[in-house]
Symmetry: C2
Subunit: 120 residues, 2 copies
Amino acid sequence: MTEREGARALVHPEPGAIRLENVLDALSDPVRLSIVRDLARSDAELACSHFALPVTKSTSTHHFRVLRESGVVRQAYQGTTKLNALRRAELEELFPGLLDSVLTAAAAEAARLLAAPETA
Amino acid sequence: MTEREGARALVHPEPGAIRLENVLDALSDPVRLSIVRDLARSDAELACSHFALPVTKSTSTHHFRVLRESGVVRQAYQGTTKLNALRRAELEELFPGLLDSVLTAAAAEAARLLAAPETA
């Protein structure tokens, strides 16, 4: 494998290697949770650059890597762009209902904080 | 407040101050998840010393504090013993279905790893 290919290899855990604690850890960060919510709302794969994140590019790259290495998202190159998709079906098979309940909870919390920001 | 009282004060977030990311972070550690699973199976409050945890006492204290400060468990002193209870109803009201789906996922993962430990 050339160095160029190595740098572009994107490692993903097989479904059997996905661990609940890693998935929960990946979802426990507000920036990563916002990425997951956007992906859940989108039918298409989304480029990293699609997301308007309040962090530096290197921090953003870190967050996407945590999501990929935990098994939450699948990343693939299209040219020089990394496209992201939720591994929804695989997560649902491993942990039925978990992703939906986290997405519902995130939406409820966002609505709650918007309604009463002074108690946030 | 005397120093003694201060040392024994156990701070808990009000329901409105419980944050999803903190709850997910609290649940993203295998030791803390095992504590939560034991509490979910128990009808009674459980002393910290009830749990056979593979960590030192100070690490154990840290884990219980993370669970308490995130809003996952409520702790109360009974004499010199700290008793722990899941804040199940409050979490259910804030994040319907979340705790149950995490508990189901944790049970599924434990069964999966027991059945095929070589792929763990």
